[in-house]
């Protein structure tokens, strides 16, 4: 074994009742490299991480850290050995200060009392090492998600001696923040830290990683140097047998249409202070309109105002020539609007309820209390959409919490399709789901559009917007700054508009 290896898993297997989550997987992590762990949902990425960090015990195989055999029983033990993990969900206590969070469980003490000065000073230094300059005595909750993520990483880095595991660290960051994170990761790498990076974003993986290990269905596919692999090759290795060609993954751009239909919805100076500036947006019947912008640019806020989750301070909405100033969800639904929210877990699914109940929820809300759908009708509806959207489940009476992310998203989509919407708002419909499901959901979107449904698509993935939309409006710093139409929609133009902003830049670009 070469001396650069710091962490090694050899022949590791993990069985759950009825499932082989991992079988005889080998994995090698070297000092000073960023190693991406790739695979679809359920490929065994998280299980491998859990086994290495002591969350779960492997059924067979060994784990070596610096050539010594280890078998951590808790994450705490793994931490003490030198393996730090930052999970997708941020594990900080929002109600205490940044410094306290960094030193939680190991507060510096002087004469038996907590030494606040030393703690704050050291916390500041730890963060400065990652070029983060914030007030460490403020509460964690007063900082944005991105900063919180950085704090969590800083804490992990400080406690680690050699290995840092980042599980989907970029899923809640916008592209600028991702670059910040990458800068930090490269710095750590140059200092000799070994980093395991898990992400669904192929582009990011290719940008940052040196090497990748691909898993599929609990089996090792192989270890590759990033420079020797193309994106298409990687995708082929991840999805394997069910080989997805580029045509099946809707890579091909759809021909944008110029819509001349009637205006379905029009906003007039709609505004909510502190969340989005007044905007005028006209959505024509049958078009697919995209909203582009960085995280926090007001994309979601715009959709929430249209759907009535948040109430506008000013302005009004006109739907089918009816002007309305007050909007609330049920009214929006009755006017033919549907809204698939961004945060599936918090705003979408009701985990306790079954798939059937989750599907009928919005339609029942539209119908009101007293025209309760009989069970038979509910079952018919649920079955119809389970078949139509190919939701993978043994039964519609399963709790929705048991489904994978992609299938949960399909259930939410089904929930809205039952209401027969005229306008479907999709907020990040493919975030955090695996490649296979991503492709499927994009296909569903496109076929809905082809059937004539009006769609408002919000997405951080520019290629998704370019592929699907007839028109893209661009938001920056909470205001609508421009739009691109037809063949003018390209990734570079969108990025330029987001970056430079202003209608002028847009015109120059188009003209």
């Amino acid at each position: 074994m070469d001396t650069t290896t710091i962490l090694k898993a050899a022949g590791v297997s993990k069985f759950f009742p009825g499932v082989k989550a991992l079988s005889k997987v080998n994995f090698t992590l070297r000092r000073g490299e960023i190693h991406a762990l790739m695979g679809e949902n359920g490929a065994g990425k998280s299980t491998l991480i859990k086994v290495m960090t002591g969350v779960q015990k492997p059924n067979e195989g060994t784990i070596l850290f610096n050539d010594k055999r280890i078998s951590p029983k808790t994450p705490q033990e793994a931490q003490n050995i030198g393996i730090s993990t930052v999970y997708q969900e941020i594990n900080l206590c929002p109600n205490i200060s940044v410094a306290e969070n960094i030193f939680i469980g190991r507060l510096p003490k002087k004469n038996g009392k907590i030494d606040w000065n030393t703690m704050n000073e050291q916390a500041k230094q730890i963060l400065e090492r990652l070029h983060i300059q914030i007030d460490v005595s403020r509460l964690v909750s007063s900082y944005s998600i991105a900063i919180q993520q950085m704090i969590a990483i800083a804490r992990a880095v400080d406690m680690s001696s050699g290995v840092l595991i980042l599980d989907e660290p970029t899923s809640s960051l916008d592209s600028r923040e991702v670059q910040e994170l990458f800068k930090i990761m490269r710095k750590l790498k140059n200092e000799g830290m070994a980093i395991i990076f898990v992400s669904h974003f192929l582009k990011q993986v290719f940008e940052i990683s040196d090497r990748m290990t691909v898993l599929r269905n609990g089996l090792l596919v192989g270890e590759y140097k990033t420079s020797e692999l193309t994106q298409t090759q990687l995708v082929a290795k991840m999805v394997g047998g069910t080989s997805v060609t580029s045509e099946e993954l809707p890579n091909k751009r759809r021909k944008p249409r110029v819509m001349e239909g009637q205006t379905f919805l029009k906003t007039n100076g709609l505004e909510k202070h502190g969340s989005i500036e007044a905007f005028d947006l006209a959505i024509r019947t049958g078009e697919v309109i995209g909203i582009a912008g960085l995280l926090g640019s007001g994309r979601t806020e715009m959709a929430k105002l249209i759907f009535g989750i948040d109430q506008a301070d000013q302005g009004n909405i006109t739907i089918d020539n009816n002007m309305m100033t007050l909007m609330y969800p049920r009214k929006a639904i009755k006017n033919g609007i549907a809204f698939c929210p961004e945060d599936r877990k918090v705003e979408g699914v009701v985990e306790d309820l079954t798939i059937r109940e989750n599907i009928v929820l919005a339609l029942q809300a539209k119908r009101g209390y007293f025209s309760y759908m009989p069970l038979k009708k509910q079952c018919q509806l649920a079955q119809k959409y389970i078949d139509l959207l190919k939701i993978k489940t043994p039964s519609m009476e399963q709790k929705i919490g048991n489904l994978s992310g992609g299938n949960q998203q399909k259930v939410i989509l089904a929930r809205w399709l039952t209401t027969n919407p005229k306008l479907l708002i999709l907020d990040e419909p493919t975030r955090g789901i695996d490649i296979g499901a991503k492709g499927e959901i994009r296909r569903i979107i496109l076929s809905l559009a082809a059937e004539g449904m009006t769609i408002l698509l919000i997405s951080s993935e520019l290629e998704e917007l370019v592929r699907c939309c007839d028109r893209v409006v661009i938001l920056r710093d909470r205001s609508l700054i421009g739009q691109l139409e037809g063949d003018g929609i390209t990734e570079t133009k969108i990025m330029k508009l987001i970056g430079e902003g202003g209608v002028k830049a847009a015109n120059e670009d188009i003209g």
Binding site: I309, P329, R330, A332, I333, F339, P341, V346, E347, G348, V349, V350, E351, D352, L353, E357, V360, L361, A362, Q364, A365, K366, R367, G368, Y369, F370, S371, Y372, M373, R415
Partner: protein, 331 residues
């Protein structure tokens, strides 16, 4: 057949039912004549009938509480609402007809429910704190209504509601059955139950799906208020008097217990009206058993606590798993 048994064993009704059966068997062995039911004057008499009769106020309140807890809330004011309704009815019946007295009693229940509902749903007060207000103030209001006296009721018609018999059974049992059927209908034959479980499971998602979350919250508190008022009528008519200080004292705790034993989680979501009924029956049976066995009143609470702890542990999956794993290791 086997799957049917297995499915029943996994249902929320299973453990409370087992507990109830156990306590009945204990009674069968320890207390001779516990199950003797005599027919006297066309009425059924005996301990089981007595238990049924006595449990009705608790049951009705527990039904309302089930809905409140399904929405991740809690209503600790039910005992005080019960006292207000009891004193209102008892005071009014002195000078007015029984219908006005009953209507007024239920009316104050609605008012109390509206008060709680507005505080919790529309103003956003924490449910424990919000209903604590009425819990403390309520007994004071009841005292004001009754002038600090225990009011004695002389109306025979009123007495019939809590102590009369119909078709051999106590009339109050019919009241409870009607309450159960009404609530069951409201919850399972309208969309209310689905909405309530959705809101209790995930409030934000429910709002995004177009459900009026605040309205649901408001409705459950009003229902809980009405249930408490009906219980107040039953209690005061049973003993022919209304005591502002002691009527339904601590009944909210028994009610919460009944809901939890019945399988509804304190963190909201799925609720089980049937489970609540079994659990209320169980709690009342324990109380009666303890009294019948001659356990000194000072220790009644302790005995009850021990039994309740055992039932709660049996119900907990974590505990059962612990126990079963141990057994597996021994084998």
């Amino acid at each position: 057949m086997k799957t049917l048994v297995k499915r029943f064993a996994q249902s929320k009704m299973f453990w409370p039912l087992i507990a109830l059966i156990c306590i009945i068997i204990i009674n069968l062995i320890l207390i001779p004549g516990f199950f003797d039911i005599k027919i006297y004057n066309g009425h059924l008499f005996g301990s089981p009938i007595d238990i049924l009769n006595r449990m009705t106020p608790l049951l009705i309140i527990s039904l309302g509480m089930t809905l409140v807890i399904a929405k991740e809330g809690i209503d600790i004011s039910v005992g005080s609402v019960l006292a207000i309704s009891a004193t209102t009815a008892a005071t009014l019946i002195q000078s007015h007809s029984i219908f006005i007295a009953l209507l007024a009693a239920i009316g104050v229940g609605v008012l109390c429910g509206i008060w709680n509902g507005v505080l919790v749903a529309y103003i956003g007060v924490n449910p424990m704190v919000g209903t604590l207000i009425l819990m403390t103030v309520g007994r004071g209001i009841a005292q004001l209504i009754s002038n600090g006296q225990i009011i004695t009721v002389h109306s025979k018609a009123y007495h019939f509601i809590g102590a009369g018999y119909l078709l051999g059974f106590p009339f109050s049992v019919f009241v409870a059955v009607v309450c159960f059927i009404l609530l069951y209908f409201l919850m399972r034959k309208t969309a209310m139950g689905l909405f309530l479980e959705a809101v209790g499971g995930n409030q934000t998602s429910s709002r995004f799906a177009g459900i009026n979350v605040k309205k649901i919250m408001f409705i459950v508190y009003v229902v809980s208020g009405i249930c408490a008022a009906i219980a107040g009528i039953l209690i005061s008519s049973n003993v022919n008097s209304a005591d502002a200080n002691n009527a339904g004292l601590w009944i909210e705790l028994d009610a919460i217990l009944a809901v939890v034993i019945g399988g509804t989680s304190m963190s909201g979501g799925r609720f089980y009206l049937g489970g609540t009924v079994v659990a209320a029956l169980f709690i009342q049976t324990i109380t009666t058993t303890i009294y019948t066995m001659g356990i000194p009143p000072e220790t009644v609470m302790v005995a009850k606590a021990v039994i309740v702890i055992i039932v709660c542990l049996l119900q907990s999956n974590a505990f059962r798993e612990m126990f079963m794993r141990k057994k597996a290791v021994e084998v």
